[in-house]
């Protein structure tokens, strides 16, 4: 509570201070609940981003999750260039996809994904030339563009949220008429253990982060932006502040160092930490005047406007006890995970689990050769010993999950309702508020799969609501 009071007002950059060499930054934004798991970032946090080796193939998925399905614009045997549009979205939520390499389309058909499903995909064999398509030209005179034009360029560039959820960015930027937004918040918290992709971007490409931020500010028409960074990355805070000082144009961009505390990177919690505002249940950030985007997304926007590149590359942290030489790699999206692991010296020992994303919210993939996506921020390989899971014991009602839930829910009770299939109870206990951060399962001394049960309950409640709506329609 004290933290919230202190962080309610965002201080000007000069008085914000930096958490540097033991000097603590004030105000130090935080929220109630949450945990501080071992960070495990040191093996890659100091390593510069390296370019990926040429992959033997890239697999561009035609099902984008939140943003829906795509239809292919190329056929088997076609030659494509790097940055050439190869698939267009079917629905309004979707964004197009581009070829990350120049080469030949070798297959269009079902491919195994990281989620274990079979989805339609375009497979391209690179020719090793990386010849850029002529459509990839920078945007000139950004200042003269309207908000709608900027948003449409971002959509056309295939940009989605790079933090992992892959929520289409143009949808976030398209605000309802009556929305009053005053702040753009750039999420540089990177609270997941192990991951250092965003950290390296902020250290190595702070100018692009700031540039992307300024374009995003124009897109939603605000004159204030804050980049929220966990205070375990003082070098990133420093680099960003220097870049802001050097930047000539654009509105006021500030950097806020916030407490290193999981799940600081949840957008609701970062808003709370930096601006002291709480997004009401069932509402979105714009209801409290904020739009949140990831630092990786900001860099993708800068790449499109300044370098003409659509979203075909991203930084991925390949790390964990099961990788010989952990690294941060600028990879071509769609590269099979195994090829990136091989670039990092291959497996160290017997791999038990390969996780796309971080250990708290990432998904364990069923095979090492599944393709990476726009949201793959990390490839975490755990060795067999670390991957062992334990049998859950009965709930002893210790309340650790309740104590640590950053949404202040009661996971133990939600799990109970889920086991008994009492979906109305689960809804009454606010299952839909769950952000699926996994803190409850992490804390549970009985090793119960709490967040999994709540996800299940959410899906059930959603299905029942849809069914009820359909009945109502008839």
């Amino acid at each position: 509570m004290l933290y919230c009071q202190a962080a309610r007002r965002v201080r000007p950059v000069s008085s914000l201070g930096v958490a540097y060499k033991g000097v603590r930054c004030m105000p130090r934004g935080s929220f109630r609940g949450g945990i501080h798991p071992p960070e495990n970032k040191s093996s890659t946090s100091g390593l510069p981003i390296v370019a990926a080796q040429q992959p033997s193939k890239v697999v561009v998925l035609l099902n984008m999750g939140t943003s829906g399905a795509l239809s292919s614009m190329v056929a088997r045997g076609d030659s494509v260039l790097r940055g050439q549009k190869i698939a267009d979205p079917v629905g309004r939520m979707g964004v197009p996809s581009y070829s990350p390499v120049s080469g030949k389309v070798t297959a269009i058909g079902a491919a195994r994904t990281g989620l274990g499903t079979l989805d339609q995909a375009i497979t391209i064999e690179p020719d090793g030339q990386d010849t850029l398509d002529e459509s990839c030209v920078p945007v000139e005179n950004v200042d003269k563009l309207s908000q709608a034009e900027i948003v449409s360029i971002i959509r056309e560039a295939g940009i989605v949220g790079m933090g992992g959820a892959q929520f289409p960015t143009h949808v976030k930027l398209t605000l309802p008429q009556d929305a009053r937004v005053d702040t753009l918040l750039i999420n540089g918290a990177e609270c997941e253990p192990y991951l250092t992709a965003d950290h390296r971007l902020m250290v190595e490409r702070p100018r692009d982060v700031v540039r992307g931020t300024q374009i995003l500010m124009k897109a939603i028409g605000v004159d204030r932006a804050v980049i929220g960074v966990e205070d375990n990355k003082p070098d990133a805070v420093e680099a960003l502040r220097r870049a802001i000082a050097e930047a000539t144009a654009g509105g006021a961009v500030e950097v806020a160092a916030v407490r290193t505390h999981y799940p600081q990177g949840s957008e609701k919690h970062l808003i709370k930490s930096v601006l002291g505002r709480e997004v009401p249940p069932g509402r979105l950030p714009f209801h409290v005047g904020v739009v949140v985007n990831n630092v990786g997304t900001a860099v993708a926007v800068a790449d499109r406007f300044d370098r003409g590149l659509p979203l075909i590359e991203r930084v991925v942290t390949v790390t964990g006890s099961g990788v010989a030489k952990p690294s941060n790699i600028m990879m071509k999206i769609g590269t099979p995970a195994i090829e990136l692991i091989e670039q990092c010296g291959g497996f160290a020992g017997d791999p038990g689990k390969i996780i796309f994303g971080g250990p708290m919210m990432g998904a364990a993939v069923p095979a090492a050769d599944v393709p990476t996506t726009k949201g793959t921020s990390g490839i975490l390989v755990l060795d067999r010993a670390e991957s062992r899971s334990v049998e859950p014991m009965p709930c002893i009602r210790c309340g650790r999950c309740v104590e640590s839930c950053p949404m202040r829910l009661e996971p133990a009770l939600l799990h109970q309702w889920c086991e008994a299939k009492l979906w109305n109870e689960a809804e009454a206990y606010h299952a839909l508020d769950c952000i699926e951060c996994g803190v409850c399962s992490y804390e549970c001394p009985s090793r119960r799969n709490l967040v999994q049960a709540i996800k299940y309950a959410k899906a059930e409640i959603g299905a029942r609501r849809r069914a009820a709506r359909e009945r109502g329609d008839k």
Partner: protein, 325 residues
């Protein structure tokens, strides 16, 4: 390729380092100072009692689970906790077989019949004590003795020839009371008074409580709301609040029994309500009831109210408070 051997499980892929056996073992560690104090003040019979409690509880869990062909769960240390507590809440000079049977009742009836760890409604050790005092009322209540120390002996001698009365019994009988209660503070704090095996030494209990607080296994919400309520109510009734806090089983009950995870509310608001409820009931029994002490029954009664408290005392979720803007 290692494909076929990859493990796929739901997130999170990291787990904290505290598990249930660790928690229970820490509670055992936290109870040890009070056990040692009990043996120091009451001698070998206290040690026999403690061993009997553990044997009764762990043995009952082992035998009942074998008989019902269920997985044996004695490795989670929870039966050891119950065993120690059963002995600690009974008088130190109770025959060993009563302690064993109380333990068997606590585990067999109160815990396992309700579904085992996590499913019992009532605190097993306190239910075991209630069982013993009901079944062998004479035996279980005459086992109180004064420690063979100078202060204790002098205190007892100065009052009555009957040496088995606890300070709270004396208060109830009107043998002590009035304004000069402060001379009892130190013996009550150290523990050289008559009482249940593990309840007399506030000092030893607090050392264990500090350990549990430091390990973040318990919070101060239940103990403090409980103890403060007793202090306030007894003070309002014109009695010495500090005497009431230090005597009887209040410290043991507030820190080790009312905080029992399974039988107390799951969220902060509920825990405070629970503590206040225990405090009011304890005070009412001590001041107006037929018994001199009311900690055990207060907690058992409040245990029954836990499902209701959990249902109505709900935390404010994220974003709910700030709806005013």
């Amino acid at each position: 390729m290692a494909d076929s051997k990859l493990i796929v499980t739901p997130a999170p892929h990291l787990r904290g380092n505290i598990d249930t056996p660790t928690l229970m073992r820490d509670v055992v560690i936290a109870l040890l100072p009070a056990c040692v104090a009990g043996v120091y003040f009451f001698g070998v019979p206290a040690l026999i009692s403690l061993v009997s409690g553990v044997v009764g509880c762990v043995g009952a869990e082992l035998v009942f689970e074998k008989l019902s062909k269920k997985p044996v769960t004695i490795g989670d240390w929870s039966a050891v906790v119950t065993g120690l507590l059963v002995a600690m809440v009974l008088p130190p000079h109770v025959p060993a077989w009563i302690v064993v049977l109380s333990g068997v009742f606590a585990i067999g009836i109160v815990k396992l019949l309700f579904g085992g760890l996590g499913y019992n409604v009532f605190n097993p050790a306190l239910a075991g004590r209630a069982f013993a005092t009901a079944a062998w009322s004479a035996l279980a209540t005459t086992g109180y003795v004064w420690p063979a120390s100078i202060e204790g002996a002098a205190w007892a001698r100065g009052i009555d020839a009957v040496t088995s009365a606890t300070p709270l019994t004396m208060l109830k009988m009107g043998e002590i009371g009035g304004t000069s209660m402060s001379r009892f503070y130190m013996p009550l704090f150290l523990g050289n008074v008559a009482g249940s095996l593990g309840e007399t030494s506030a000092l030893a209990l607090l050392i264990g409580a500090v350990y549990l607080l430091w390990r973040t296994h318990i919070s101060l919400r239940i103990p403090m709301s409980y103890i403060i309520t007793v202090a306030v109510v007894t003070a309002l009734y014109g009695q010495d609040p500090l005497f009431h806090v230090l005597s009887g089983g209040l410290i043991l009950g507030a820190f080790f029994m009312a905080t029992d995870y399974v039988t107390s509310p799951i969220n902060a608001k509920g825990q405070i309500i629970f503590g206040i409820g225990c405090g009011i009931l304890t005070s009412l029994i001590r001041l107006f009831g037929g018994y001199p002490e009311g900690v055990a029954y207060s907690i058992l009664i409040m245990n029954a109210a836990v499902p209701m408290i959990d249902r109505f005392a709900r935390p404010k979720r994220f974003g709910e408070v700030k709806a005013r803007a």
